[in-house]
Amino acid sequence: MIMSSFDYLKPSSLEEASKLLLENKNSRILAGGTDLLIRMRGGEVKPEKVIDIKNIAGLHEITWEDGRLVLGAAVTWTRIKEDAKIAEHFPALTQASAEFGCYDVRNRATIGGNIANAAPGSECGSPLLIYNADVIVYGPSGERSIPIDQVWLAPGRTNLAEGEFITKVSIPLYPASTKSAYRRISRVEGQDLATCAIAVMISNPEEIAAREVRIALSAVSKTPMRAAELESFLSGKAIDGETINFCKSWMHRNLYPRASSLRGTPEYKKIVLGNLLEDILREFGVLAGELI
């Protein structure tokens, strides 16, 4: 039961939506509603206005333009999961979509909503981070683009200004030789938040000197995070058992997951993320001795 009363608004343009958002301090954007409605039911948020953006043209589109994939904010996770071209270019995103919620949640939940919800373990977090996605927002001063690593501030908090809301996610394409993957651990199969997750991308996997490694981690910090230090350590060098051990030890020294998590102890998360990283690198064939 939702215990607070609210007005439901369904604007048909970006301008109108932004205006409503600006005029009503206590309002919330509704896309899929899979997070918002639960929080309203729990009484954690009590918006006076709920602004549904699903009636705005363009927010449902998946387009490929100028070397970029552009996902409308209201694109559902089911559509991402079932898109063969996304799977070809952004396998980490597709793998994340397959872990996302369950059938019925994926049918409603959107990519924009998942970003806006700003959960530390959000499914979109690590994949969008390794792909250097840009989040396009619309607000009183028009459209602007925010790099994904500047979007999240803390659990539930984003960098969006008053009257702004997410309209699109834009992701640059990478050369065909680029490899990327996403792995997550959950307590049960499906419909559970990630205990922890990792996404890894390697460009130029076959040319060691030109190799660039990107690593993002979820559910170990206040927001999904890039592991910059690990990335520069791994980039441009041959990866062997010793390098892997350094990475594992880095996880132990540098990660501070909160101890109060119901899903996994800090120790477990740190060990498992190291193991998952090793797994992915082995699968990419970049562990020394296997490829070179």
Binding site: I185, H252, I271
Partner: protein, 765 residues
């Protein structure tokens, strides 16, 4: 022995309405003028109540009443064994789920909003949360007036077994294994949370409908709170969305509080619980601390010393009964010469604990079946061989001195069938034992567990049941038994049993919606006793009806009463060309002023128990089960993947095969949850996970292929031949998983759920 054909078609009297969503559960019911009641909790875990301020809540729009303990006309305190439950908190808060007031409003939304305005002034007291601390002399008292064995303490009960001489026996042993086990709180996870609808009726009776497993227990709670006689309360059954043992105390309390509101306002009141309230307030499966010492001599379990501490939480509920079963079954299905067992139930300020599917056996089996594997390994023999050397067989004597000779002891059968179906021993040889293949991170393991289980209540309490069969003028038949339909298919089983006895089609028989004002109290629907006790009463009633029909119809059928036969939906004389339809038969009965009505009672055969020595024939019959599992453990992530779960259970005679299979599959699934993922997490006395987003139960995607083998050995002491399957199916998978995880990883886990650690490689400093 017969391995039953499992491909039979399902039959249920309620299938169509439940599949199509037409079945009405309590919260679906609406009555004109009905008000809504909700509970009010406090943030306290343990506190002395100074005052409860209700003024602000009373003035909230739509609020009809705010009720506190002072408004109760009858008894404030009630309970199944001890009257220790304060139906509304009056003196103290004893756990975080204590209800301090009820808010009643025209709309549920108004009641929920107003509930937040009730204020509690209380003096917090230090909570007592550790059951071992609570056992100590000088511990603060959860119930100051509670006396056990002559002294004020937190002990709810102490059961004992004194068999042979344990201390001498341990000295004779080749080796002794000593381990401590811990098990967790489990939520029943019934689909439908608690709900009650109470209607003050024109004839002065308080009519109650609700989601419950025992209408008569609900009636006692309602009568107590109202200060009414049992005959002043009528509890009627509606469709129930599951119980798993969890729809007794709390379900009855919800109805009692709704009845209190209905009485005060003199109007119908419904009280339906949110999932969060249900998690917070309803009783759980007991967490156990088990200290176990097992001595082995010449390949036999020679001695066992067991100390069990069960956290009863703030109230006793049925802790003495739950822990009694743990005591009787504390050595598993094995012959042990020397046994010393002490089992304590103890009050704390945690959520209270009570009946849950398994009722004291899942905790013990988790310990015993691992110890048996440990012993076998120490002996250097296979766990299969070790079990064969020790297990109960026809004519064996149990640890309470009961000789198993009145029924077929089918432990070896369920064991052999499981081994055969799984090709178990060759799989056992393939287990990884901590070493994965070069190319794989998956460690393979298989494990199994065995159990025997006393049927029905045993020496726990009075055990009898009744049934009424009433043939109507058109030949249709109304049947009822004093067992409750919780969703498990009890009504369908009784119709099938009656149809079998009477030789009629199931379509002729309709199950009468039960009411406490119609049939005598037959005890609660627990202990896997529905089919054996209710079915026994149905058989007795149908036999009595057949006797009456035979006496009245023998002249018309030109034969002796003893020649009359019931089959083919008709009543036959000596030859197949002489018969009456049921319509004709009833007409004939009425002409003779005979009523085709019968009442049947089944009383459980005699059982016995000595509280001081733990000797006796604890249960009048037993069932036997074996469950096995294959799984892999990923050594890099600790994730367990179940590959196959197989069960063999002896059920007496099978009545409704697909329902038996459903119980077995569901039982294995719940057992997997017990072993691997389910846990009510309590921090400082407050439950942290109060819905299924944080309390994880196994889902279809978590479960593997399941196979069920059903063994039929009709039981001579059960009139229908049937025994039970509800709980046996739920008491074995967790230890089977623990054994399989050991065989995969080489690591033993002594706490449930298993929290698999991952390999911490040397360089991870």
């Amino acid at each position: 022995m017969k391995q039953a054909e499992t491909g039979k078609k399902a039959w249920r009297n309620d299938a169509y309405s439940k599949v199509t969503g037409q079945a009405e559960y309590c919260d679906d019911l609406k009555v004109h003028g009905m008000a809504h009641a909700v509970p009010v909790y406090s943030s306290e875990v343990h506190a002395e109540i100074i005052s409860i301020e209700t003024e602000e809540a009373r003035s909230f729009p739509g609020v009809l009443s705010v009720i506190t303990a002072g408004d109760i006309p009858g008894e404030i305190r009630y309970g199944q064994i001890y009257k220790d439950y304060h139906m509304l908190a009056d003196d103290r808060i004893r756990f975080n789920g204590d209800v301090i007031a009820i808010v009643v409003a025209q709309k549920r939304e108004q009641a929920v909003a107003a509930a937040k305005l009730v204020r509690l002034n209380a003096k917090p007291l230090p909570p007592l949360l550790d059951p071992e601390e609570a056992l100590k002399d000088g511990a603060s008292l959860v119930h100051e007036d509670h006396i056990f064995e002559g002294k004020s303490c937190n002990i709810t009960n102490h059961h004992k077994i004194r068999r042979g001489n344990v201390s001498a026996a341990f000295k004779e042993c080749d080796f002794v294994i000593e381990r401590k086990f811990n098990t967790q709180y489990i939520e029943h996870s019934y689909l439908e949370p608690e709900s009650g609808l109470c209607i003050p009726r024109y004839d002065g009776v308080m009519e109650v409908m609700g989601s419950m497993q025992h209408p008569f227990s609900t009636r006692r709670f309602v009568a107590a709170i109202l200060g009414a006689k049992l005959s002043d309360v009528e509890v009627r059954s509606v469709a129930v969305g599951g119980g798993f043992g969890g729809k007794d105390d709390t379900a009855a309390l919800v109805c009692a509080r709704a009845a209190l509101a209905a009485k005060i306002l003199n109007k119908p009141v419904k009280m339906t619980y949110d999932r969060e309230w249900s998690f917070r307030e309803s009783y759980k499966r007991h967490p156990y601390i088990i200290y176990y010492k097992m001595g082995i001599k010449n390949g036999k379990i020679h001695a066992a010393e067991v100390k069990i501490i069960a956290d009863s939480g703030a109230y006793c509920s049925v802790t003495p009964w739950v822990t009694w079963r743990s005591t009787v079954q504390c050595c598993g299905p094995y012959e042990v010469e020397h046994v010393h067992c002490d089992t304590y139930g103890v009050y704390t300020n945690n959520v209270f604990t009570g009946a849950m599917r398994g009722f004291g056996s899942p905790q013990l089996n988790f310990a015993i079946e691992q110890l048996v594997d440990i012993a076998a390994e120490k002996l250097g023999i296979s766990p299969v061989e070790f079990r064969k050397q020790n297990m109960l067989r026809q004519g064996s004597t149990t640890i309470t001195g009961q000789v198993l000779d009145t029924h077929t002891v089918s432990l070896d059968q369920v064991f052999e069938e499981t081994l055969k179906r799984m090709d178990y021993e060759s799989k056992l040889a393939k287990c990884s034992r901590g070493r994965a293949d070069e190319n794989s991170d998956e460690l393979y393991g298989t494990g199994l567990a065995l159990s025997y289980r006393g049927m029905s209540l045993g020496a726990e309490g009075m055990d009898f049941n009744s049934a009424i069969i009433n043939v109507q003028p058109d030949g249709s038949i109304l049947l009822e038994a004093a067992i409750h339909e919780n969703g498990q298919g009890a009504e369908s089983a009784f119709i099938l049993i009656a149809a079998g006895e009477l030789g009629t089609s199931v379509d002729r028989i309709r199950y009468r919606q039960p009411s406490t004002s119609n049939i005598p109290d037959g005890g609660t629907t627990v202990a896997s006793r529905g089919t054996i006790m209710g079915g026994g009463a149905v058989v007795t009633a149908t036999r009595e009806l057949k006797r009456k029909l035979a006496m009245a119809l023998c002249c018309r059928l030109s034969c002796n009463p003893g020649d009359i036969r019931f089959f083919n939906d008709r009543i036959y004389g000596k030859t197949d060309d002489v018969f009456l339809t049921y319509e004709q038969a009833v007409h004939e009965m009425y002409l003779q002023q005979e009523i085709p009505y019968a009442f049947g009672v089944f009383k459980a055969p005699k059982v016995s128990w000595d509280e001081e020595t733990g000797k006796g024939n604890a249960y009048f019959t037993w069932v036997y089960g074996c469950q096995a599992v294959e799984l892999t453990v990923n050594r890099k992530t600790g994730k367990v993947k179940l590959l196959n779960m197989t069960a063999a259970h002896e059920v007496g005679r099978a009545i409704n095969m697909p329902m038996i299979l459903g119980q077995i599959y569901g039982g294995m699934a719940m057992g997997a949850g017990y072993g691997l993922m389910e846990e009510v997490k309590v921090k400082d006395g407050i439950i942290q996970n109060t819905n299924f987003n944080t309390y994880k139960i196994p889902r279809a995607a978590d479960l593997p292929e399941m196979q069920a083998i059903v063994i039929e050995n009709g039981d001579p002491l059960s009139p229908s031949g049937a025994k039970g399957i509800g709980e046996p199916a739920n008491e074995l998978m967790a230890p089977a998983i623990a054994n399989a995880v050991y065989n995969a990883t080489g690591i033993r886990y002594y706490s449930s759920p298993l929290k698999i650690t991952v390999e911490n490689e040397n360089n991870n400093k």
